[in-house]
Amino acid sequence: MSTAPDSLSAAGPGVDDRLDQAVIAAADAAQESMRADLLGLVGQQAAVVAAAPAGAGKSQFVAATVGRLMAAGLRVALAAPTNDQVQSLVARVKQLNPDVPVAFVHGLGKELPTAIAALPGVTQPSAADARRQGDPLVIATIDKLADAYLRNGLGGFDVLVIDEAYQADAARYYTAAAVAPTHLLVGDIGQLDPFSTLDDATFWRGGPEDPLQTAVGVLLRNHPSTPVHQIPVTWRLSPLAVPVARCFYPGHPFEAAVLPGVRSLRLTRPGPGSQVLAPVDAALDEAVRSGWAHVTLPGAPVLRADPATAVLIRELVHRLLARSAQVRCENRPGFAALQPSEIAVGVSHHDEKDLLRALLDSYGLPGVRVDTANRLQGLTFEVVVAWHPLAGAAVTDAFHLDPGRLCVLLTRHRQACIVVGRDSDRALLEGVPPATPGFLGWDPDPVLDGWDAHESVFRLLESHVIAA
């Protein structure tokens, strides 16, 4: 797994003919403007919001900004919703700011991976110790930070920085917000909104008290004058992927930082006797050529964890590696072998994940990441195989139409994305969209937005369809 941007940072890429300098300059200007706003607000109860498309280098921006804040002598708390995200932030902060001491405060059994924990200056104190020591930079999940504040009094920071702030809900933000007066909220507006297991989770929708609105949502509702900046670049996605990604970011212009042709995925030719795998090979070849492939099984309503779809995905992943996939990119000028850990399979449900995990393990592919869209948020891979949320569905519903879910699945990749579904899926969107409830004070409509986004994506993938 890699995270964007890698060695070529927005802060100092220099003149590089592999990158679109105009796009990078615009992104740099936006980021500098955000930092200037934030530094000007330190000491006040105020915030800055940074809205970004997928792969905009948010973590890089966050890490660089944390370094600037620390250099200004400020005490910083850095938080994100999940353990994976905060662990990755520790590594990113240390990468950009080797001299900055990092205190990682974690929950039981959520210690840092050994390689990150071994970095100089990284400690893993208890919340009580972090408070007693007055650690200048504390990194924790939002839940852990809130718990440490309530239980151990860990607070008194100058700035709270929240990454993936559109994924954090207002209820969790409520407690963590008190650790510092000035906030920087960075997030991807296209990703999944906070969710609840309750049937009537919309009970508070539209009200200022709604605990399921995003952290950014509650902040802007109460403080509409808060500056919101848009980051106009994606480092992760290639120019081939950007048109599809734009379906999820209406009103937010952005371009790929990398120039066309810089990234490349290469496969060996299918060997003799490969006829049985012809559709799989065709899908892989299409993905290599255009960055996208939409593989469709014959239309049929199927069970959610459909074995045929799972087997097809396993074959795609296995064949990808069997054909000695190699990648080249702005960070790797020469071709290098694609590693299993650089491949992810994105799904919508845990039973799909479990089925695929077992199937991939049985083929000796434990290194390939399989996870739900919720868990893949914020992560980057070279190649992603996405189990389409509507694959084989008999009807549409709010969960499977959620544009955030599709956005996450289709925007994790740097080289290619292979979407797997059934050829009847698009027909689900024919006709009139379903009636949806309206809520005073709440404009978004995930069902209608999702209907629109799904239809746009189907249209853009039309030329990449491979029948399996």
């Binding site: 309530l150 933000y173 407690t175 008190a178 008290e209 109460n222 077992a358």
Partner: protein
């Protein structure tokens, strides 16, 4: 919900011609003597009750019909007996208390709580709106509303809000009770009709469930929303009533004139009352699951807190939650839902089936249980390793945590490996706690393990009382107007258009 199980149910019901139980136990407490309430509204007036029927299910009901519910005097006069009776029943139910020990603290919670039974979830919402209206009545025009109306409004508001708690039994909508315990051929939208649901369970001889539902729906109109046909009849009667009374609100005059409307609503209530009793009695005779008692204890605790606040302290509830309240409620409801779903599956084999089908649970025979030692942190600790033979193909990743249904509130077992075993699978699991005898199944036992835990997985603290600046508006909102400020029963004083400064406004 398992798609596979739903498909199976649909096929079986279609074939057998009647609904099938999806549980072997009843998972909701049903009281011996609840209070049943049925209600109707006018087509375009969501906040007013055009008729309220109340009483014991199966027994005689009382009926409140104001005639013109948009007239404040008539409305309050009609609702007063209902409000007074509701308040009396709530107070009586809360009198007897019993001690309940929690740690070193002894609380006295009501020994019982008034259970209200309504035909459907729409009535829950309607009662909530009625409660919201009554609870905050102001002294409009210098006339203090009957305190019983205000108190009843607070009770209704409490009941309706508490109805969000998964598995609660203070306010039982019978459509949900049936849908949770029976599989039918009806869509979620169609399941909102109690008559249609009931008809699938016991269809008339020779009728397919679809036909039975269709006939029942046409025969029994379940409120609170009137059908177009009911609303047309109501409107005609209401027009005649208003024409006959003029502006009179005199009780003796109104009592005589309102009789046709009362008869209209009585004819609507009677079949619903009978339907409610049939549904209630059918479910009441099903054995209750063990956890029903514990959930009703939580209900009694909530009921006791409500009574103490509203009756003993004269308190009011906020009309909307604060961000802190909403955050706490959300978390509590999510925890309660997870516990309720786990309770159902762990106690009721039929409720475990969807989890088995979806791969969230496994069932098999214990082939061996052995003790071993593993290093946790830096210490070697005792652990039990169990081998389970399942006749099914098991798909579980290593490291998955599963709880044995007998110790579902304790330590989970971690999946160590899964391998083929004939037509089925052999699963090796390790207990994540010390291997005490009560935590270990015996060799040869047929057991079920699932991802469902009935214990508390995590402990969370209350958010701070003071909202952070992020959750407070820049400018505090203006104080709201009284909730009944828009009532129209006192028309604005007549204006002499000729004498007005801007006569065009009145012509």
């Amino acid at each position: 919900m398992s798609t596979a199980l739903e498909a199976y149910f649909a096929a079986r019901i279609y074939e057998e011609g009647r609904a099938l139980r999806r549980t072997t136990l009843r998972h909701v407490h049903l009281a011996d003597s609840p209070l049943a309430i049925a209600m109707w509204r006018l087509g375009g007036e969501r906040f007013r009750a055009a008729a309220v029927a109340w009483g014991p299910p199966g027994g005689p009901f009382q009926l409140a019909v104001p005639g013109e519910p948009r007239n404040r005097d008539l409305y309050f006069a009609a609702l007063r007996p209902f409000a007074a009776d509701l308040c009396t029943r709530v107070r009586l139910a809360a009198v007897a208390r019993e001690p309940r020990q929690r740690g070193s603290v002894t609380e006295h919670i009501p020994a019982d709580a008034l259970q209200i039974v309504v035909p459907n979830k729409a009535t829950v919402s309607a009662l909530g709106l009625l409660g919201r209206y009554l609870a905050y009545l102001s002294d409009r025009g210098g006339v203090t509303p009957d305190p019983a109306l205000i108190e009843a409004g607070k009770h209704l508001r409490f009941y309706a809000r508490n109805a969000r708690v998964p598995g609660q039994a203070l306010l039982v909508p019978l459509d949900r009770l049936v849908a949770d315990h029976w599989a039918t051929l009806l869509s979620p939208f169609e399941q909102a009709n109690l008559a249609a649901l009931d008809a699938q369970i016991s269809p008339a001889a020779g009728l397919h469930p679809f036909e039975a539902s269709s006939a029942a729906e046409a025969e029994v109109v379940v409120g609170p929303e009137p059908t177009e046909e009911v609303d047309s009849r109501t409107e005609a009667l209401l027009t005649r009533f208003n024409a006959a009374r003029g502006t009179s609100t005199d009780p003796s005059t109104v009592a005589r004139l309102v009789e046709p409307l009362r008869e209209h609503y009585r004819s609507l209530v009677e079949p619903v009352w009978s339907l409610m009793n049939r549904v209630f009695e059918r479910e009441r005779h099903v054995t209750a699951a063990p956890s029903v008692r514990r959930r009703f204890e939580s209900d009694r605790e909530a009921f006791g807190r409500h009574v103490d606040w509203v009756i003993n302290q004269g308190g009011y509830y906020r009309t909307t939650d604060t961000p802190r309240q909403a955050a706490i409620i959300l978390r509590r409801l999510e925890d309660t839902l997870a516990r309720y779903e786990a309770d159902r599956a762990v106690e009721d084999p039929a409720c475990m089936i969807p989890h088995l089908l979806d791969g969230d649970a496994i069932r098999g025979t214990v082939a061996s249980v052995a003790e071993t030692k593993v290093v946790v942190s830096v210490r070697a600790v005792r652990r039990a390793v169990m081998t389970l033979d399942s006749p099914d193909t098991v798909i579980l990743p290593e490291g998955k945590l599963l709880w044995w249904t007998e110790t579902a509130d304790g330590h989970p077992w971690k999946v160590e490996s899964v391998s083929s075993n004939g037509a089925g699978s052999r699963i090796v699991l390790m207990l994540t706690g010390k291997p005490a005898p009560e935590r270990l199944p015996g060799v040869g036992d047929l057991i079920t393990l699932s991802t469902l835990c009935t214990g508390q997985k995590s402990f969370w603290l209350m958010p701070p009382v003071d909202a952070p600046w992020t959750h407070q508006p820049d400018v505090p909102p203006a104080a709201p107007e009284p909730i009944d400020v828009g009532d129209s029963e006192q028309p604005a004083a007549a204006v002499d258009a000729a004498a007005a400064a801007d006569p065009g406004r009145y012509t």
